[in-house]
Chain length 386, copies 2
């Protein structure tokens, strides 16, 4: 297997972008990544996007976007695993380079969720749940995660305040990220007094509806060294992908996200790393409870210790293991197909030492964890300074 | 790059399957492939499906299906490139095995197009066209292919009868395929007197709306040899993927399918083969003109010679290069996400010498060409008896 490195990153500012189309957002992120990498040609493109059909009435997206970038002809593929589509785009691009099917791949994610055509965003997002066993009964994601939160609270004594502290931390980090959708200082009281969405989850426990795109340029480590430059070389050392029953009713243990644990174990094994080797992590905090479940499933904390870790600020910038220094889905925003790629953009930025005010000191090994639905799929990547 | 072989194939009978769900169809094909391969475990699943969101109100499909098969946990990814999604599923699975990320991958395609939820099938299929530049004006695929037919007729003198002969040949082949949607003997007169759909294309120039699924099991050549058996070992020697502007208005030359030519060239180069080495081909005959364009773009005939080749029966069973021995999309049916996988099932069946009455004698090298939209993307695979 050929070794793979990230040589370029690109983002757009996330938010409600009423004047920018899916195409515009994507091309902006792609051009930023190509410029950052210093390359103007690629021989592969991957696009993570959850549902351009339902959001935008447009399938066949990878070809459309390759053309929009002036690269019609280049091999391009769209991948989908609901909100884990971005992480999957990196996995697919990684496989192409590792196998030798491509040398330089533009890995991208995008979602245009406002100004939607046809269905509303809640319906479109709901198609990530099991339509026969969950959607049929009318439940949507806040309700599914509310059930996961209730179980965690009952089983481990996780408190309402601990959940709120995830939002407080991530909004604090988001204040330091110019690409974030929200620049809001949020207190525990703000979270606890925000509108109830699905008991116990409130508005400030939920990630927002976001338009956005993110991109990476990846190539072989050999080629990355040739392209040179003064910045640290960032290798992708682990890639783990896993699934689980997407319907909660079909799972054995609802106090753990099994797909996250499996994807993490696979990525750690491939990289020859363990949770304690990780200097920072971007995890999929689509709801506050999701971050607590993720840090436990990834082995940063024992089961049930994710809540208490919030009381001790262990995942804050400067803590034992900074989690979501970018602001996470909560503050940075959650354009679903783009999220997994944007997480890796943050990890690479941190490993390059270019994260400015939110820099994690001495970061040399980082992890990104992306998740689909209520944990029906997960993708974990480990990146390291070579 | 590790060498990859196909060790199992599985199909369902294609058609309007009102009593079978997407899940049921997919599991049936997957189990058939696993049984054929003689394996009960895989460490990867790929799913080609164009639009489960629009057709069935269900995204997050790969996890859902892995679970439905009793394989929750296994890494699974859905890929999409409109009607080329099946070919792309093989490409993605091939990359996983070639890179060493997985050893045994279940490659699948599925589409449930009847009994659709929400949008109608024509709308859903239309999202494979450029919504801003084509869909906005109300054109759908019969109209787009009708324009391609008109240009080919004008530029090369291709006749209405030559188009009809594609349907006649493929329906004749379909009579010999028990999995085909239609078992109809069709004459040139039948085609020419069928309902006009989009001038010059008539009903019998069009592939149908179909429910179906198809599956392959792939692994390393080394592992395939260990699993042994008496059947010929079928290797995947070439994989080519290409894109083009999906909007016809943005293309330079409408008398050629550039994505098909590029994907073919890439597959030939990888396999070290040329068009004259190919013993049989399954090509993407979503409309009769598409087959003529494909056999030219793949280099089986010079540009403009695809029509006259029909007059001389060069692509019939027993002809110079049998094309669509399975009956093609025209007679076998076109469950869009499944089509690219089903094409490879046919090629493998032929290379194994198991195609019964439609067997191409002495077939040792075969090609499968899958296409998205009106040629906005294409995937070509070359398979050979080791």
């Amino acid at each position: 297997m050929r070794e793979v490195a990230v040589i370029g990153t690109g983002l757009v500012t996330f938010g409600e972008m009423w004047s920018k189309s899916l195409r515009t957002l994507w091309v902006e992120a792609a051009l930023n990544a190509l410029e950052d990498a210093g390359v103007d040609r690629v021989d592969g493109i991957t696009v993570g996007c959850m549902s351009p059909g339902l959001f935008n009435g447009q399938e066949h997206l990878a070809s459309l976007l390759a053309d929009e970038l002036g690269m019609a002809g280049v091999p391009a593929m769209r991948v989908e695993s609901a909100c884990a589509s971005g992480g999957l785009a990196l996995r697919a691009g990684f496989a192409e380079v590792a196998a030798g099917l491509a040398d330089v791949v533009l890995v991208t994610g995008v979602e245009k969720m406002t100004d939607v055509d046809g269905a509303d965003a809640t319906y479109a997002l709901g198609t990530a749940a099991d339509q026969d066993w969950e959607g049929f009964h009318g439940i949507t994601f806040p309700g599914l995660y509310a059930m996961l939160a209730r179980i965690h609270m009952q089983q481990y004594g996780t408190t309402r305040e601990q959940l709120a502290k995830v939002a407080v931390k991530n909004h604090a980090n988001g204040l330091l990220n110019s690409h974030a959708q929200y620049h809001l200082k949020v207190s525990v009281d703000d979270v606890l007094s925000s509108t109830l969405v699905a008991d116990p989850l409130r508005l400030l426990d939920c990630s927002p509806i976001t338009d956005g795109a993110a991109a990476l340029v990846i190539t072989t480590v050999e080629r990355a060294r040739e392209l040179g430059g003064d910045r640290p070389l960032v290798k992708i050392t682990g890639s783990g992908l896993a699934t689980d029953s997407i319907a909660l009713a079909n799972r054995g243990d609802l106090a753990e996200l099994r797909a996250v644990r499996l994807a993490g174990e696979r990525a750690y094994a491939m990289a020859g790393r363990s949770p304690r080797d990780i200097h920072l992590a971007e995890v999929h905090d689509c709801f506050t409870i999701a971050e607590i479940l993720a840090v436990e499933a990834l082995g940063f904390f024992e089961r049930g210790a994710g809540g208490p870790a919030m009381d001790r600020n262990l995942t804050s910038l400067g803590g034992k293991i900074p989690v979501n220094p970018s602001g996470g889905l909560k503050a940075k925003g959650h354009p679903v197909g783009a999220t997994g790629v944007a997480q890796v953009v943050e990890v690479v930025t941190q490993l390059r030492g270019e994260a400015g005010q939110r820099q994690v000191e001495g970061a040399r090994v980082g992890l990104a964890q992306n998740m689909g639905g209520s944990g029906g799929s997960s993708v974990v990547h480990i990146l390291e300074v070579a």
